[in-house]
Amino acid sequence: MIIKTEDPGLKGVQKAIKQYTREYPDYADALRLYGQVMRAQQRTLRELKSELEMEQGEIDLKLAEGVPLLNPLELDIDLLKYRRLTGEICAVIAEHGPEGFAHCDEIASWEGLDEGDFARTRNDLLTGKRLSLGEKWSTDEEREIGRIILWEALAPFYRRCASILESKMEQAFWLRGFCPICGGAPLMGVFRSEDGLWLLECTLCHTLWNVQRARCPFCDESEGSLKYLFIGDNETRRVQYCEHCGIYVKTVDMRDTGREASLPLENIITADLDMAAAQEGLKPAGPGGAIRG
């Protein structure tokens, strides 16, 4: 089975933001800010081209062996476009964030984004290492925001490559809890509207991949250990978690809704599920988004 992830495009993002802000007015400001970030990512994605090629035999072999198709630490990234997108995301946060953002200039002039240092910065970001952002970043919280901006700016570059590979990827070879293309952790999951298939979306390249319902995708000792929790009577948004490894992934059930989910936006409006999971002592799949594989 091949699963193609549909990129929303600028119109799709606009439509999703409109729909989610209408349905969740209490989250409207946060959703609008993230919508602006998504639009900037989509604009960059539209400009990117990839000539990535991989033989079908190599793809099948890697998937069967549990090795992601790309080595994310070796992907060529157009630094000019990356720096521009980083600046755009900073500007969105400075303009739409309730407390603004004081570090736009520092990110723009940071030597970590120079040609010579960028590969190390990218690899530190992907492997969850601390970034040496400088003394002006006074708190861990500020540094984490800086890290998140840099991460969001990476997404379109990985998405472009993923969009080429996913059409050759037999899902039955994978069924694991990290992305088959870049090794990223899942951002969220969805039960597909047409048949309830459980798909996870990568936090880095936003590829959708299939995992088995009723089995933990994160550990091998999962026979009967997968459970879920939900809040009130709303089972359509749930935390799927494993009693054995204690890892969770939020999942939205799109059957009977007549529409498609935007998982990055769902991730925002389901903050209560993260809190419920924390109460139970569960860990998110891939905190900090570090890649695997």
Partner: protein, 206 residues
């Protein structure tokens, strides 16, 4: 549960999720709420539909209620290569074998029941009693209807006077189940043949 902005940020993934938005100063309702969350727990397990021989894969959802689980839904398993998440109308109603409108199905038989000859009512008996009665009835029926030999029929369709060993009973029949595995079905027919039963059937064509 008291979570600081920093705690919440740590819980988030890599991207600009709820944790980061809280850190940026957004007052997300979920984080600002003071009432405790009403969290419910549940579980999904895989199963096989119990009706016909197709053997569609199912997902059975149960809610935790105190110290036990209560089945609340049965649906097609999208990972099953037989039905890809679909179920027929009978399969989709499987839950009614256990619960109807959330209440235990009063017609579901969960213990051996016995109706004596000429009686109009059923009584509950133990498994030991049930198995003993079944064994007795099989023995009585088999003995009473045992066919030791058959006549050998000639080309003219008439008995030749010769006999051939038969060792069978036609008074007992066996109806297997579509839910039996190949191994289970083999063992069942083996037991039946050892008893001399020749009417061995299966409801796979249902």
């Amino acid at each position: 549960m008291d979570l600081t902005r920093k705690d919440f940020l740590k819980m988030s993934g890599a991207g600009l999720g709820a944790g980061a938005l809280v850190s940026l100063g957004f007052k997300l309702p979920a984080v600002a709420a003071t009432e405790p969350l009403r969290v419910a727990k549940a579980k999904e397990v895989t199963g096989v539909c119990s009706f016909c021989a197709v053997g569609c894969g199912t997902l059975v959802s149960s809610h935790e209620e105190g110290d036990h689980l209560k089945v609340v839904n049965v649906e097609g398993n999208p990972d099953c290569a037989i039905n890809f998440g679909t179920l027929c109308s009978k399969g989709a109603a499987t839950i009614q074998k256990s619960y109807i409108d959330g209440e235990l199905n009063p017609d579901r038989v969960t213990k051996p029941m016995y109706r004596a000859a000429n009686s109009s009512s059923w009584e509950e008996i133990s498994w030991d009693e049930a198995i003993k009665k079944i064994a007795q009835k099989v023995k009585e029926t088999r003995d009473a209807a045992w066919i030791k030999e058959d006549d050998v029929i000639g080309p003219d369709g008439k008995p030749t006077g010769q006999k051939v060993l038969a060792n069978r009973t036609e008074a007992i029949g066996s109806l297997g189940s579509a839910e039996l595995s190949n191994e289970g079905a083999y063992l069942l027919q083996k037991v039946m043949r050892s008893l001399g039963v020749v009417y061995i059937e299966h409801h796979a064509r249902l």
